[in-house]
Amino acid sequence: MSTRRRLAGLLAVLALFVSGLALASCGGGESESASSMTETTTTSETTTTTETTPPPPPGPTEIRIVVVNGAPKGGIVREKVEKNDRVVLVVRSDVTDHIHLHGYDIMRDVAPGKPARLPFKATIPGRFEVELEDRGVQIADITVQP
């Protein structure tokens, strides 16, 4: 057998296993077409949502974060929400800073006695950091499930 045919054989075996993997993993995620096509929402759309929007029933998921001494109380807050959920981040802080939700790119002022409210619709799946922007300190980690 020529070396070229051996190499071709090797590539064939490789292709077989990779396609097997493809089949196996496609079985695991049927919602693929739904999540990949529908969302092209831009960040600017999200930022224009104001906090006065009356929450339609059922109300938005509220995620509360308390900042003490420039650090999240009880460690980084980790929350999971489902795609297309309506979510409001409420941050109370004893320091003045900006609260930044990455990816959705929403920024709100926060100060002692003036909690920040960041409402958004969870249209983009992934993991997103919430930061005290000026201090560069992560306070929460929001996972949007596909």
């Binding site: 990779v18 693929e32 996972t143």
Partner: protein, 453 residues
């Protein structure tokens, strides 16, 4: 912006679900053992490394002086733009051209081009282009451009490994790696490192052994189906450029820095490491920002060094076991370095492919307003990046597939080397088991990191 990890980015990947991990792991183990018995009994990759020459006309265009000068000028221009925007543009990371260009377009785009098309960095390097222009000007003035010192070869690739470590330390350990001024100083320092090295040791030796990016990209380019041999472009089987032993000292350390830093990046995004950093910050709550930053950097560099050391230690242990089982009576350390290159490429692909596709889109708006001053040079300022361009399922599939393909390629290259080293020995098959175990460890380790949230 981003507290730690991968320099810049707005969306992080969701951890891969357990089912992908188990399917991937089963495929890795199954393929490994099937291939071990099925694969060739005599080394054959090296025989194919030369490839077949492409038509003369194509070669003379692609490798022409005009293309070289054009790309060199473009690249030098981009270096100047990067330096200028980093040092004088807005300090908002995501509105400045430099961070996205350096960490995404350059550091993720050039590896991709190298894997697909070969050593493109030899014509794209701005430092090489500047050095070439300097030599040309010197010779035009009737003077001979000669290096100050002879490259002895004793230093091997250690200078390049040091340069790469410095870059990944900035990217992964610094508290604000994308802060434009910091990045600007880093780019200036690296430019000095590259140009001074070429002036002292000559352009070719420094490109091959001292300029970290050139070494990284040329190693990745050995995967590519294209190469330049004797002045002409050849097409060859992918991965055949990685056959044989790699005897240049320091190559193992270089590859270990490459693999170790990428895996540390994966680990540093897990809640385990982030909580550790948060605890450290809470502990130092009363101290100055400088102290907190210094402590964070220290912890991150330590974590990264640990991953590099772990790669080195496992590699050396596997080689020692192979030497013992195969009874070769010489060091096999240089023989199995190159099989790690496809694994490094797979790590890179698995960890950064979504970052490249998502964050990379921002360059379209940034090029219109590189300094963040509200310009619209090319009319692209309103382009809205699609942050949901790849679904999480696609990402998981690509990640697992990249690691499996990298694993199989590394395995085949290691096997090819093993049959050459252990040829005619009684224990040839057993002697391959330690290397097989090492590859399985790296691949499953990489995959496991991706399952961590």
């Amino acid at each position: 912006m981003t507290l730690i990890a991968h320099g810049i980015g707005v969306v992080r990947d969701l951890p891969i679900p357990a089912v992908y991990f188990f399917v991937g792991a089963a495929v890795v183990l199954g393929v490994s053992f099937v291939l071990l018995f099925y694969l060739w009994r005599r080394p054959l990759l090296e025989a194919h490394a030369d490839g077949r020459a492409l038509p003369r006309a194509l070669t003379s265009v692609v490798l022409s002086r005009a293309v070289r000068i054009l790309l060199g000028a473009l690249s030098a221009g981009l270096l100047v733009l990067t330096l200028a925007t980093a040092l004088f543009g807005t300090t908002v990371e995501l509105l400045n051209f430099a961070p996205t260009f350096v960490y995404v377009i350059f550091w993720l785009g050039i590896p991709l081009l190298s894997i697909l098309f070969g050593n493109v960095w030899s014509v794209l390097s701005p430092w090489r282009a500047i050095a070439d222009a300097a030599v040309w000007l010197l010779e035009l003035g009737g003077r001979e451009a000669r290096p100050v010192l002879e490259w002895s070869g004793r230093m091997g690739r250690y200078p390049a490994a040091l340069a790469l470590f410095a870059f990944v330390a900035l990217e992964l350990a610094h508290p604000r790696p994308a802060y434009p001024r910091t990045l600007g100083i880093a780019v200036a320092l690296y430019t000095y490192w590259a140009l001074a090295g070429m002036a002292v040791y000559g352009r070719d030796p420094w490109t091959r052994f001292g300029e970290g990016f050139a070494v990284a990209f040329s190693l990745l380019a050995r995967i590519a189906p294209f190469a330049v041999r004797n002045g002409s472009i050849v097409v060859r089987w992918p991965f055949t450029g990685l056959a044989g032993a790699e005897r240049t000292p320091g190559t193992l350390l270089f590859v270990a820095v490459f693999l170790g830093s990428t895996s540390f990046d994966g680990f540093s995004r897990t809640s385990t490491w982030q909580d550790l950093l948060a605890d450290l910050r809470a502990e130092l709550a009363g101290s100055s920002q400088r102290t907190i930053d210094l402590a964070t950097t220290f912890l991150n560099v330590g974590g990264m060094a640990f991953f590099v050391a772990a790669i080195l230690a496992t590699y050396l242990a596997a080689v020692a076991a192979a030497e013992k089982l195969g009874r070769v009576g010489r060091s096999l350390v240089p023989d199995f370095v190159l099989p790690l290159v496809p694994i490094a490429a797979a790590y890179l692909m698995a960890h950064y492919f979504t970052l490249f596709l998502i964050q990379g889109q921002f360059i379209i708006t940034l090029i219109s307003d590189p300094f963040g001053k509200g310009w619209d040079l090319f009319g692209t300022i309103d382009f809205a990046p699609n942050l949901a361009i790849v679904s999480p399922e696609t990402t998981w599939y690509v990640q697992v597939a990249a690691l499996v393909v990298g694993h199989v390629a590394g395995l085949a290259i290691a096997h090819d080397r093993a049959v050459a080293v252990f040829e005619g020995r009684r224990h040839a098959l057993e002697a391959q088991l330690p290397m097989l175990g090492l590859m399985v460890l790296y691949t499953l380790g990489g995959m496991w990191l991706l399952t961590r949230g």
